[in-house]
Amino acid sequence: MTDATGPAPQRRELKQRSTSEANVRRRYAREKRFKLYGMLAVATAMAMLAILLVTIIGNGTSAFFQHEMALDVSIDAERLDLGPEPDEAALRTAPYLRVVRDALKADFPGISGRRERRSLYGLVSNGADFAVRDAVLANPAVVGTTHRVWVKTSDDIDTFLKGQMTGSERWQPAGAATPTATAGKVTIAAETGAFAGILADVRAHLGAVADSLLKQRGALERAIEREIAELGQLRASGGDEAGIARLDRAIERDKQEAASLTAEILDLRKRAAAAGGEEALGDGQPSYFVAINGGLVKLETVSDAEATGQALLPLADTDHAGAGEWSVVAYRVPEADRRVKDQEIAWIAKLQGEGRVEQRFNFDFFATGDSREPELAGIWGAVVGSFFTLVTTLLISFPIGVLAAVYLEEFAPKNRWTDLIEVNINNLAAVPSIVFGLLGLAVFLNFFGLPRSAPVVGGMVLALMTLPTIIIASRAALKSVPPSIREAALGMGASRLQTVGHHVLPLAMPGILTGTIIGMAQALGETAPLLMIGMVAFIVDVPGGFTDPATVMPVQIYLWADSPERAFVAKTSAAIMVLLSFLVLMNVLAVILRKRFERRW
């Protein structure tokens, strides 16, 4: 390349060096460690996710299945105040509750007293009459016949049947047994040791109660000591007479209570330590049933070989029941501590014996709106509300966001004002979401007077929230389109708008769509901004349009999580599962769309 014009000037040479094995090994070791850290991080995240999923699925699956009871309902036209040729309106409004209750009473004759009847009616859901109504509307010919209708059990019965109310055990004692009667007070004579287990349990329980009473007495005695000390101080400092007298009386009272506690403890201890003889089952004890000869006896006293109790279900006869033909069932949680009482358990047991209690998939969960009754509550209202809200959010935030990004990226001059706008947009993305709710309340509801709790208002509030996300994602996508495409288009004589619209935007679409769907998924799970505009409310009807009052899925989850009924716990997890599956679906959609558009590169 260059002519040699003279002797080459002296140059410095690099010394011959080579990297050491130790150095190379260190570098590989670092790489291996880094990979390990990476895998650990991923494993931790996966583990957390697994725990979350397992917990939620474990809690929630039971909400998808509901126990139902078959009732043979005599659909009597007269009882339902229906004329000879009833029209649909009459069929719709007939008092079906009467025939439901009749059917229950027919199953269990001999129920008397208002309390018992109320207990019986409480076996089925409050919505049981709707099930009969639906059966009649589907086939009006059943009027006048006795038709088997499957109705939902009440949420308490459902919870009990799912084993969530109390644990239970069933076992068959060795040997035979003979009952003395078929109804009322029944004594069951069995072989030696048949009820020994129960006796031991009962006595052990008494011992446990004694121990807790002992602790109580200990606390009481400490309190008495404190009071005596106080009295002493008061006397020494010459306090008022009334105060001293009061304290005196208090000490007296406490001492008496301590004494009675002591007596109780001694009695319990004695009973617990006794051997043989019999014990009475009282409050705070588990419930024990003996299933014999087709009936159910709730035990009240037990001894080693004999037990006496009330027949909650009448026995067929007083015949001798051989070994293996009778059994004992124990329900751990004492009757006073549960919502389903022993008599109700007995009734359900009878129906179960007749095969009239089944667990079925709860399709209504996906078809009905919210309700105060857990067994009738469904998620459909929230799903529709979420849908309308998200549609509004998308329709507002997508065009505005993309167009704003296009303008800022392609057309806006680069000066201080545009810098300011960019900073503000980035900041908006960091604003707490509840602030948007306050904005919605102040502007959309109070100033513009839009309807409260409507998806259209919720959508607008959420659109404000997702707008920064979409703008930022769109700008990044637009920036990533190579300048060669722009140059080619401009070189062809395309105007700026044509270049952006025909060439840049289609290529930036994958990124824009991904950002949009991420924003939508974020909006789907928001609760706080909707709080202020009234979408956190108990809405029963499924919304029909954008201006009907509605609620959204995360809000529904929150409301159910707040409810006291036990059955709502499972429903909350079930609703979370539905919400999560929607989110997964949206993310899958994002991936599919991205892949589809990316091919065109």
Partner: protein
Amino acid sequence: MDNTDAMTMVEAAQDARVTKTQGLTLPQAVPLSQPKLLARKVNVFYGSKQALFDVDLDIPQHQVTALIGPSGCGKSTFLRCINRMNDVIEGCVTEGEILMDGRNILDRREDVVMLRQKVGMVFQKPNPFPKTIYENIAYGPRIHGLADDRTELDEIVEVSLERAGLWDEVKDRLDQPGTSLSGGQQQRLCIARAIAVSPEVVLMDEPCSALDPIATARIEELIDELREKFTIVIVTHSMQQAARVSQQTAFFHLGVLVEVGQTEKIFTNPSDERTNGYITGRFG
């Protein structure tokens, strides 16, 4: 271009008899035609840095003008002035005038979109649109409203591809994406795209630098055919290419137009010492 070739060429040229030396075609001396573009006192600044100093250059009609010079000498910058592509660069200021058909195209008031229909550009790295081959060619005529209906558009596409020497290869797959072609084919597609809008001038910014020798040869043939209808300005790093393809050559150095003239003269008997140094390979 290595030492020996350059020396041989210069010596042989002085003989003026030999027409082929070591694979190099010596340019024939061709009289230059009427100028299509007249550049007068063109200065370009990137921010505070000046890239072109008072460039005066005539581009003859229906002939190929080659802009040569070492890296960073301003030849691409000058090329991009002609179709106002420098406007999209932030902070780039262009002074002076370039007259085409009597109008100064550097005037702010001139419509850039119309200018770019008249002055097309082919870039260094082939950049077909990520659309079908048909759409690539049809896009320009469509946005400029050059075709009344689909048949006319089809004709424009076919003729453009034919003139670019690509028709036989792609006529069966016009709906394939433009990016599915090879490098050389893509560049020919870009040339077809540029000529589809019936420009008057075609600018080429090192169009063959990303291509292999065979593809390069084909495109040089194409350039030779195209100058029948269009005025061509080509920036090239390869002096052999400039010698083969152009009738006028302009040598730029450090933002200054050092020498311009018939290609034959520039390569056999340059007036300026710097030109001589460049073409003999002493620098660059």
